[in-house]
Amino acid sequence: MVSATKQVPEPADDSGLPGPEPRQSLLFRARIWSRRARIVTARVLRLVRTGATRLLPGIRYLLRAVHRRWRRSLQFRTVLTTLMLAVGSFAVVGAYLSNQIAHNLFQERLAQAESETRYNVKQVQDTFDGAQVTDQSSVITLVYDTLNAVEGRGSVIQRRYVFEAMPEQTKPRNRWVESRASDQLTISVIPPELRKAVQDSGKDQFWASTEFPVGTEDRPGIAVGNKVTFNGTVYELYLIYDLNTAQKTLDEIQNVLFAGAAALALMIGAVAWYVTRNVVSPVSHAAVVSEKLAAGQLQERMVVKGEDEVARLGASFNHMAASLQEQITQLATLSQMQQRFVSDVSHELRTPLTTVRMAAEVLYDARDDFDPINKRSAELLYNQVERFQSLLADLLEISRFDAGVAMLDAEPTDIVQLISHVIEGVAPVAAEYGSEVTLNAPAGSIVVEMDDRRIDRILRNLVLNALEHGEGRPVNISVAANDTAVAVAVRDHGIGMSAAEAARVFDRFWRADPARARTTGGSGLGLSIATEDTKLHNGWLQAWGEKGSGSNFRLTLPLRRGETITRSPLQLEPADVGPAGVLMERTTLLVNQPATDPRPASAAGAKEQP
């Protein structure tokens, strides 16, 4: 089909694009769609506004639930993503398809309109050329009949027409017909560009899209125009073809496409749900099982079906669980054996040691009856058995910690009172070194949930260490508490230690100066045991030292069992060395002078003693 019809160039379009027809139809459809969209948007907005005010809390809850689901469920996320991607791709494909169909429909209709127009214009021209009429009424009748014939026979109007004399031409006397148009039409439905193109050309045919009224509605259509001559007058003849049926077809096709896409999207969602469920359910099963394993249910295993990747995961997971269980059981057995061993060694060693010790003491008590050599031997035996015993006790204590059998026997106890007892206990040693032990306890009593036997051991150890390294200078003990923790600081002003030594002081068998005489005969495990005792309480044990300025050991304990310490109530670096600290006032508790202390609460322990 050869088309001689040219499209009227749009006034705005001077770029000369190769295919302007689809653009024309697109523009046209865009106008319709935009109008529909405006209406729909307005309605939706109104609905959203009224709904938002009433349903806002519900919507917010829903959104949060969806968001939570999105974060926590892999399946939900996968299905939703798949759905969104599917809808997106359907939108793209659907838009392309419907565009393509619209274009084809339009082209087909246009081709038909062009050929029909050519035929009809020729018919009209032929009729006009062969007319033998001269009077006004027969001319009018001829023209009207000829034009009415263009509308087609039958009840359905196949095309409409607009017939108008070209302006700006000399008006002959016998020109009785100026214009004529189908029902409801006037020349204004023809776009001016089309008219101009028709007027300016010779006998060429032109077309343009237009809208024309039918009944109460505006219908889309194609106007094809050409010129005919009658009785020396040039007329413009435009035939207008209805695109309504094409538009309806297109709408139907779009509806079908839309329905198909929706159904497909639902099916894809269902498929995605099914597939991800198949993949995710073993994973979530594995998650549940590993959570149970982590909680200590070591016999828990995954269900293995088939030979696929998931089955391999299950099998290797089970393998891992089995070896884990085996190792944990083995460790537990080892720990039990260790515990048994420690207990056995404890018993087996202590019984003979008790005998040896008693014998040594009997000999020691009778040493005055011996000759000098035997007397000195009895003394050495007695002292060394004592040292051996304390070393053994410390070793057994440490091994109990290592075996993890040490238990915390905590109950609320007044720590200030306990410190007073410790000070009383070390009084003979303090007198031996010539050191004064002072207590600074601004709060009269601080009740702490603790294992008093262990805390007593820690503090006794710290104070004895301070005395040993204190060079006879005073040893100050400070106690303070905040909301969550209590701290005890033991400060000496003796030889002190470097920062590096302070870092190692809690190591087992470590000694600041190996050449130094072991005057108190400690095992070298005292501070290690103190560290373990502190750990058992969830506490801190820290050391500060400076060569020549002495050292400070700070024990911090949570006030209530199981709580964590955030800040110690006392400063580790002493106030008298570093910047101003929390040690505000110093109250002295003289150990040998119990009744003169101004603070009855801190001296309470001392008063009870005989």
């Binding site: 207990s343 202590r350 008790t354 014998a359 609320p412």
Partner: protein, 224 residues
């Protein structure tokens, strides 16, 4: 008359050494090396005090302790090589009055023995009351509504110590000193375990004590 002391210990050397020390201090030791024979020897020897090792062949020391306590109020002091909390507490709960952890000094052992053998206060007749419990100190009788409650001598001493000074709160250390005769701070679990045992005998509801009250963070006092 010399106090007779039954030493139940399977270690011959230690038993002999304990014998030497006890004899040296004027006691009359009797020995038993097997847990299963301990009860028979106890019945025949009628000792004034039992020194009992916890680990014994034949029968566990804890079981021996329970059996002896089942038929007598004789003071029992455990000799223990284990200082694990659970073992000590188990021993005390089975009826022992005190314990001496190995290795111990001879003086320590003798002090513990003497403390348990200390004759009761033979004073003028004295009657004390805590809550609805009546204590006849001289007659060693405790009763509620004229119904007699059986206590071991140690439990009796503990109750009397509290009842004599109902206005005072006793710390565990003070009770250790007054009731057990310790001069220095020792294991306060002794007090905890015996207070619980005492409560199980004299309280109507041991969960809500009325006779022996706990003062949180300090110690115990008598109820009013």
């Amino acid at each position: 008359m010399k106090a007779r002391i039954l030493v139940v210990d399977d270690d011959e050397a230690l038993a002999e050494m304990i014998g030497i020390v006890l004899r040296n201090d004027g006691f009359d030791p009797v020995f038993c090396a097997d847990g299963s024979q301990a009860l028979d020897i106890f019945r025949s020897a009628k000792p004034d005090l039992v020194l009992l090792d916890l680990m014994l062949p034949g029968m566990d020391g804890i079981e021996v302790c329970r059996q002896i306590r089942g038929e007598s109020d004789v003071p029992i002091v455990m000799l223990t090589a284990k200082s694990d909390t659970s073992d000590v507490v188990r021993g005390l709960e089975s009826g022992a009055d005190d314990y001496v952890p190995k290795p111990f000094k001879p003086a320590e052992l003798v002090a513990r023995v003497r403390a348990r053998l200390r004759p009761g206060d033979q004073k003028a007749p004295e009657t004390l009351r805590i809550a609805d419990v009546t204590i006849d100190v001289a007659g060693h009788v405790v009763s509620r509504n004229s119904e007699r409650i059986s206590l071991t001598p140690l439990e009796f001493d503990l109750l009397v110590a509290l009842a004599r000074k109902p206005w005072q709160v006793f710390t565990r250390e003070l009770l250790l000193e007054q009731v057990w005769g310790y001069r220095h701070a020792a294991d306060t679990r002794l007090v905890n375990v015996h207070v619980q045992r005492l409560r199980s005998k004299i309280e109507r509801d041991p969960e809500a004590p009325e006779v022996v009250l706990t003062v949180r963070g300090v110690g115990y006092k008598a109820g009013s």
